[in-house]
């Protein structure tokens, strides 16, 4: 039984570091393995939605995300990472979902993507969630429980919290007390869970600055040929040294 599990782990993670795991870690794995997975995305689907997986041909890309994962998850207490940018269409969602996917490579860790982009967010499309309740529904409707807004992603150990259908972008959702209680609950649902917030642009939106209250680290995505040094410095000032983990240069041209 254990042999089969090991093989399965090796197959999905590909990092084969199983024997170094201690007893605590093994219990995490067992706990995590209980996570419900009704449907797993095929490689074609992952490719289509530009989600990395260990066997991806572009190993450089996979390795770069592994490195980001390593440096961003070094301190387990700082497990809420907000990904933001200076302008729209900077590749924040791409980076956020792949950072989450790379964290989920590790059998002892779970990741969750929180889509804070309002109605513009694409998380529900990428992970084929459809019109299911999300953050806005949780805040507007008291009947909805935390379990109702967390959805499967189709990737092992990766969960998705979409924005939801009700409410508008300007409804001060992220400063609502229920949003804070939601964040606290999901943070503590699993002991080694990493939450990646897919946030709107920091200089354009007040939401991103509000979201900084609930996050532990901030990553700034700088896309190819889009931002000037003044903008980057302004963004770095807004984020502040305490939470700013660093900038990511996104070479993807779109």
């Amino acid at each position: 039984m254990m042999n089969k599990l090991e093989q399965a782990i090796r197959k999905t993670t590909g990092d084969g570091s199983l024997y170094s795991y201690d007893g605590e870690r093994t219990s995490f794995i067992e706990e995590i393995e209980k996570m419900k997975v009704s449907h797993l995305m095929t490689k074609e689907e992952l490719n289509k939605h530009k989600i990395i997986y260990p066997e991806l041909k572009n190993s450089a890309l996979v390795n770069s995300f592994r490195e980001f994962r390593t440096s961003l998850t070094a301190i387990s207490s700082r497990n809420v990472v907000m990904v933001t940018s200076i302008g729209d269409r900077s590749g924040v969602s791409f980076f956020a979902r792949n950072l989450a996917a790379s964290i989920a490579f590790d059998m002892a860790k779970t990741a969750m993507i929180v889509d804070c982009n309002g109605r513009k967010g694409c998380v529900h499309e990428v992970f084929s969630i459809g019109y299911k309740p999300g953050i806005s529904d949780f805040i507007s409707t008291k009947d909805i429980q935390v379990e109702d807004v967390i959805h499967e992603s189709g990737v092992k150990r990766l969960r998705v919290l979409p924005f939801g259908q009700s409410g508008n972008d300007g409804d001060e959702i992220f400063s609502h007390p229920r949003f804070h209680s939601l964040m606290t609950q999901i943070k503590h649902q699993y002991s080694d869970r990493h939450i990646i917030i897919d946030a709107p642009p920091i200089l354009k939106s007040a939401d991103a600055r509000i979201l900084m209250d609930v996050c532990d680290q901030v990553v700034l995505v700088v896309p190819y040929g889009r931002d000037s040094s003044q903008d980057i410095q302004a963004a770095a000032r807004v984020i502040g040294n305490k939470k700013f983990s660093g900038a990511i240069f996104n070479e993807f041209l779109n």
Binding site: K48, K50, N58, S64, Y224, S228, S229, A247, N250, L253
Partner: protein
Amino acid sequence: MITNPLDLVVITFKDTWKRKELGILMFISLSIFVLFVSWNWPKMYVSSSIIEVDEQNILTPLLEGSAIATSIKNHARNAEQIVFNKYAMNYIFDILQEDVETLSDKQKEDYWEDIRDNTSVENTGSNLIRISYKSVDPVRAQLLAENLTNLFISESVNEKKRESENAYSFIARQAGDYHEKLLKSENALKEFRSNNLGADPASSAVVNDRILELQRSIEQSGLAINEAQIRMENIDAQLSGEAEVSAHLSREGQIQERISVLQTKLDMLRMTYLDTYPDIIIIKDQIESLKTTMSNIGKDETYKISQNQGGQLNPLFQELRAKRSQFKTELAALKTRVKETRQLLGDEKSRARQINNAVAVYAQLTRDYDGNQALYRKLLKQRESARVSMNIDIANQGMTLQIKEQAIVPVRPVGLQFIHFAIFGLVGSLLTPFGLSFLMASIDGRYKSEQALKTMNGLPVLGGVSAYRNKSMNIVDVSWLAFIALIFVVVVAMYGYVGWLKVLGQA
């Protein structure tokens, strides 16, 4: 923001790919524009002739020094002046009569301006001139090039003739002027000479000698006068000590004796001098006065008494008196001579002054004459040289203009050909999007590489993310590449087709 040159190249390509739609549009529009221009580009034909200017012909060494070869230094400029002047205009208009006759004066001017613009005259070697005419019509190019060449040759020869004729007539005129001047100074010299005979440097020396001689004579006479005066004083002293009368010497006898002595002396003097000589006159006077005294003796009582008393005159006294009288005469003669000599000296001195003035005037006249003569001689020589030069030019031997290359009807057009347009159009429009990307990347302050981002002060950089390429993206990119290739092929085919049409048109 670019940190190194290699990045710039990579970024140029990336940016061009990013803006490929704009790049394709640019390539299509530019290449089609160039194709359009090349289709409408007029074919220009140039016909030219080359003229050799030979100034070193056989006559030059033969006539070295005696004839001055007229030269045309800047041939092309000279040729330009000839082929662009009013005469040339009329000459060319005569040839192009059909084109010109319906034009107004203003139009004619423009027409001529157009011809001038299309004509080019240049030095192609030290003594080669190329005259070319550019036109869309090859026959017209040849016609004008040929006629402008002929015009240049005939006008050059005429101009040289005119030039040497002018030079000759100028020198001849100058020679005439100097001839007249020479005659004038010759006459002035002749006249002066005849008016001032003996007024030459030689006679000046003679006069000086004469002055010296006269001065010496005056000095000698002065000495003689002094001597005579001293003698007179001595005799006067002796006379005062002697008694006037001595015994038994009758006064009459004494006078008689004295007269005879004087007579003898007079006779002696007359043998040498004329009666006007002062000594003769004085002696004559003395004789006359003695004779008067003689005749008075008979009447004089006092004398009779003394004679009767038998007293005689003292002979020494008599002698001294005679001597005194002689010296007195000599003294008078000397003084007269000094006076006359002084007068002569005055005359000679004024004559010497006259001679000096005359010599100065003479020297000036001679100088004028010599100067004029030298210039006249030189001009005569130059006039002969000019005459020979003129004759050389009249005989067309001074400068030969030979057509080395006759203007022919050009077959191939000049200037930009279709192939140039094709290369420029295809390469240029292909490179333009890259060039623009390069320019923009050079001045763009935004970040286009991870390395550049890392250079920003105080910014922690976690790393870079490369593109996630999936199948659909690859399909899109490959489609784009295929589309670009297709467009390129279509454009090249269009160029090929137009080039083919051009070749057919030429054939």
